[in-house]
């Protein structure tokens, strides 16, 4: 009786060891795939923090970065490494990786031994049990776990990309709000100088209480403007702080005084829709899900391919552009030879997944176009402010000062002009902020960073 048991046991143990060797349980390996995908899209290196040593090294790195005013790239780096929520997400890859490893293992064999003494009889029973069902379903479980790992890899990469882009936006908002506060203070200073001068004039008997009340009222309102701008700057900064995952002393980081200047020229992008379809993680995830569905349903005999973008929507043709479907820009998935049992359900499930890919792809293409148009339009607005409005404001200021020199204009006119200048500067900051936000939107929509400005632009883009 003993020999068959020991044969079975040997088989089970050796099989278990064999399978266990196939799947690693190192979480880094899974995460590295996510990090690489995110790096390609955002230019940011994400890192898994495994030990206290890792964490200490990171804190030291952050401290170094925070010594200078926080640039956008530094902010993004800190966010990708330091944000606790993001770090938690990184471990999902590890979990999925472990699941794959687990799926490749059988439950440990069971050994039983019992001995019963009583009434002069002794009964001894020995047993060895192995998970036969587990053994039979192992390939399926492995495949599903591997798919979940792929999905998780994409999801973690998407999470990094999302967080990075949100951090870029938060940084732009925070710096712009800070700059707006500076100019709100300038308006208030001009109003302050006006009302102080009017107070002195009233003191000297040269102006009336009405004159003074008018100037003071304006000053008071300008003060409210500063309070509002201050609140907005604080809120924007806190939002950025949350994105960075900073607290305590590190939350006292310095921000640059101004947004980066407008590039000399906007980025010229060709084939943005193609880029979006090949780069965007949501498109990739939808496609992977459809393929997975096919595999789950055991669909193998492909009859033809279908371009999911042609499902229910005719491709746009643009004059002078090559027809924009086909392999390069299209998204093709196989169509199967339906037959046999349970066909109807399998077909429905698969066709549903095709529809979902098409929906994601159509949105991606539209978002890419909208993102690019928005980017170009906001560039034009910001350039208009830089090249037209601000030089004119400067000229007005110069001319007003010349008139003051000739006693043709009063100091109050100088100060009123200073206030109006601040208004134009405020609008310019808004336009510049909108441009940088539009750039992030465009990068999000096409799933990659824009090429760096050409070398001649570098003087305009200190950041």
């Amino acid at each position: 009786m003993a020999s068959p048991i020991s044969w079975h046991a040997t088989l089970a143990v050796s099989l278990g060891l064999l399978l266990a060797g196939c799947a690693s349980v190192t979480p880094e390996r899974a995460f590295e795939a996510s990090a690489a995908a995110a790096q390609a899209r955002t230019g940011v290196d994400a890192r898994l923090l495994r030990s206290d040593a890792d964490r200490q090294a990171l804190q030291a790195e952050i401290d170094t970065l925070l010594q200078a005013p926080l640039t956008q790239d530094a902010a993004v780096r800190i966010a990708a490494l330091n944000h606790p929520g993001l770090q938690a997400t990184y471990w999902e890859a590890g979990i999925a990786q472990a699941d794959v490893a687990q799926a490749a293992r059988l439950r440990n064999p069971g050994f039983g031994f019992s001995r019963m003494d009583g009434g002069g009889n002794r009964e001894t029973e020995r047993s060895v049990s192995i998970d036969l069902a587990g053994l039979l379903t192992m390939p399926l479980r492995q495949r599903m776990a591997a798919r979940r790992l792929d999905e998780t890899t994409l999801r973690v990469a998407a999470a990094i990309e999302h967080h990075v882009n949100a951090t870029r936006r938060a940084w732009i908002e925070a710096v712009a709000a800070r700059q707006a506060l500076t100019y709100a203070r300038q308006v208030a200073d001009a109003a302050d100088a006006s009302s102080a001068l009017m107070a002195r004039m009233t003191q000297a008997g040269n102006a009336s209480a009405l004159d003074l009340a008018r100037e003071s009222a304006f000053h008071a309102e300008a003060g409210a403007g500063v309070l509002r701008a201050d609140r907005e700057a604080n809120a924007a900064r806190e939002h950025l702080t949350r994105q960075l995952g900073l607290w305590g002393k590190q939350a006292l980081y310095k921000l640059p005084e101004r947004l980066p200047d407008l590039p000399a020229a906007p980025a010229e992008l060709a084939g943005i829709e193609r880029t979006a379809l090949s780069q965007r993680l949501d498109v990739q995830a939808a496609r992977a899900a459809a393929s997975g569905t096919a595999a789950d349903l055991g669909l193998t005999r492909t009859t033809r391919f279908v371009n999911v973008l042609d499902l229910g929507y005719a491709d746009k043709r643009e004059t002078g552009e090559p027809k924009s479907d086909g392999y390069e820009i299209g998204l093709e998935l196989p169509l199967f030879d339906w037959g046999g049992a349970r066909v109807a359900r399998a077909e429905a499930v698969y066709m549903q997944s095709l529809g979902q890919v098409a929906a994601v792809a159509v949105n991606a293409r539209s978002e890419a176009r909208a993102g690019y148009l928005g980017y170009r339009a906001s560039y034009d607005v910001a350039r208009h402010y830089r090249d037209q409005v601000i030089p004119l404001r400067k000229q007005i200021a110069d001319e007003t000062l010349l008139r003051y020199n000739g006693m043709l204009a009063s100091p109050f006119e100088l100060l009123a002009d200073a206030r109006e200048q601040a208004g134009a500067v405020h609008a310019t900051i808004e336009a510049l902020k909108d441009f940088w936000l539009a750039q992030v939107d465009l990068e999000t929509a096409i799933g990659m960073r824009l090429p760096a400005p050409s070398p001649t632009d570098k003087k305009d883009t200190p950041q």
Binding site: Q203, G406, L414
Partner: protein, 470 residues
């Protein structure tokens, strides 16, 4: 500089040919030349080349229109046209005028002369010429719509009448008058007496007063301004762009002033007493004249004052409205006299780099040379032997000197005062004590702003360097 341009050659030929055809019987060939004048300096008096003799006048910063005698008729040719007039060095104005200048050239004739004046219109709208104060046939009075149709652009009209009585007159459009006079269309007219010894003087200056509203930094008058003009001119010039009037000690001098602004001008002469010897109506009988140092010239009026230049020196001659002796100024600038700028100035300077406190001690800018808008004159300026004259607008100087030549109108330079005849700073010389300065009864000191020294001295030129360079 006067030059003569032929109306039948050059760029003007087309317009002239068209205009000349309207001169009907006279024919194109008989249209006299239209001399033009390109300088704003005072031209020498134009001695008569024919006809009855007379003593020519001097148009301050202006000139007299040459004429030709044709069959016993004095023929003149006026061309109404856009001109650029220098108000003073550093400022040009786009005006309308006659024969290259505003005001137009002075027309000089003799009592009893038959006069024929061709008027060519090179303006973009119709015009006419009214011979202000002349006794003439009604149809020659130049009132558009009332006595004649307007002279359309490109057309030439002819006026003809006898200068019936001696006196001082003006000419100006009576068509779209408001715009055309705001643009500087006007001229002087003198009818000399038949007997050149009658009313004879040694020097006879003529001038028209006009006013303009030219925004600092611009060139063309705002023709819709009714009262708030910023440039008050003598012959479309402002001080320091006005030449001095020169007289030899003991000369009998006449100054004829016509007012074509929209307000009155109390004309004041320093160092002399004068009599109003003539109006637009003619000569004032000797028995009706009384001595004055200021005479008011009302709107549309003419006054001829006479005096003996018996006091050597440089004597101010000006409208006594103080804002008429200023160039463009900011009428809405609040008074800053006595306003303490401590602290406030720094605040303003932070916002407006280059800002400098002005006006807190008064309006004087002293010798500050501040950068101004383009084509703008300093509000008050003019370099004299003792510093800045702080004048502008309707201001010039009568320079009386011994031993000048009869026809010498050149600037003799600044007066050299005999020793001990110039006001000076009292420095407590000798044992003489300063006499007491009694105060008005119940006088209270004006409140001085805290922390402000009552130091009214002008800032020295050295202090200004920083400001000049921005």
């Amino acid at each position: 500089m006067t030059n003569r341009r032929s109306f039948l050659t050059g760029a003007g030929a087309g317009i002239t040919a068209l205009g000349a055809s309207l001169v009907s019987r006279a024919g194109a060939a008989s249209l006299p030349e239209a001399p033009t004048h390109t300088s704003s300096a005072t031209a020498a008096p134009l001695a008569p080349t024919g006809g009855r003799p007379y003593n020519p006048v001097v148009t301050l910063n202006g000139w007299t229109l040459p004429w030709r005698m044709k069959d016993g008729v004095k023929e003149f040719h006026l061309v109404a046209e856009p001109v650029v007039r220098e108000f003073a060095p550093g400022m040009q104005a786009n005006l309308w005028g006659y024969n290259g200048q505003s005001p137009g050239p002075t027309i000089e004739v003799v009592e009893g002369d038959r006069v024929r004046i061709f008027v060519t219109n090179r303006l973009p709208e119709h015009t006419s010429v009214h011979w202000h104060g002349q006794l003439l046939p009604c149809g020659m009075d130049g009132v558009t719509g009332l006595t004649q149709p307007g002279i359309q652009p490109g057309k030439t009209f002819v006026y003809e009448f006898v200068a019936r009585h001696a006196g001082t007159f003006m000419y100006h459009p009576h068509a779209d008058e408001m715009q055309q006079m705001a643009m500087g269309m006007m001229g002087f007219w003198v009818t000399h007496p038949k007997n050149p010894r009658q009313h004879a003087v040694d020097r006879d200056y003529v001038m028209l007063l006009s006013s303009y509203d030219i925004e600092p930094g611009s060139y063309t008058p705002r023709t819709n301004t009714m009262l708030d003009f910023n440039l008050w001119t003598i012959n479309s010039r402002v001080f320091p762009g006005l030449d001095p009037m020169v007289a030899r000690l003991g000369d009998k001098v006449r100054i004829r002033v016509g007012n074509l602004t929209m307000t009155n001008h109390p004309i004041h002469l320093h160092g002399h007493r004068f009599e109003v010897a003539g109006t637009d109506g003619g000569w004032v009988p000797k028995s009706a004249r009384w001595p004055e140092v200021t005479t008011d010239v009302a709107v549309g009026q003419m006054r001829a004052i006479e005096f003996v230049a018996d006091a050597p020196g440089d004597w101010a001659f000006h409208c006594h409205k103080s804002h008429h002796t200023m160039n463009a100024m900011g009428h809405d600038v609040p008074t800053l006299i006595g306003v303490d700028h401590q602290g406030v100035a720094e605040k303003i300077n932070k916002l407006v780099p280059g800002y400098m406190v002005m006006g807190d001690k008064g309006g004087s800018m002293g010798d500050m040379k501040m950068p101004l808008p383009a084509n703008t004159l300093p509000m008050m300026s003019g370099d004299g032997p003792f510093g800045n004259l702080e004048m502008g607008g309707m201001f010039t100087v009568l320079k009386v000197r011994e031993g000048l030549k009869r026809g010498d109108y050149g600037d003799p330079g600044w007066y050299r005062h005999p020793a001990g005849t110039v006001a000076r700073e009292w420095t407590g010389d000798g044992a003489e004590a300063l006499p007491p300065a009694p105060r008005a009864p119940d006088a209270r000191p004006a409140p001085a702003p805290a922390g402000q020294a009552m130091d009214a001295r002008k800032p020295g030129a050295k202090d200004m360097t920083g400001h000049e360079h921005h």
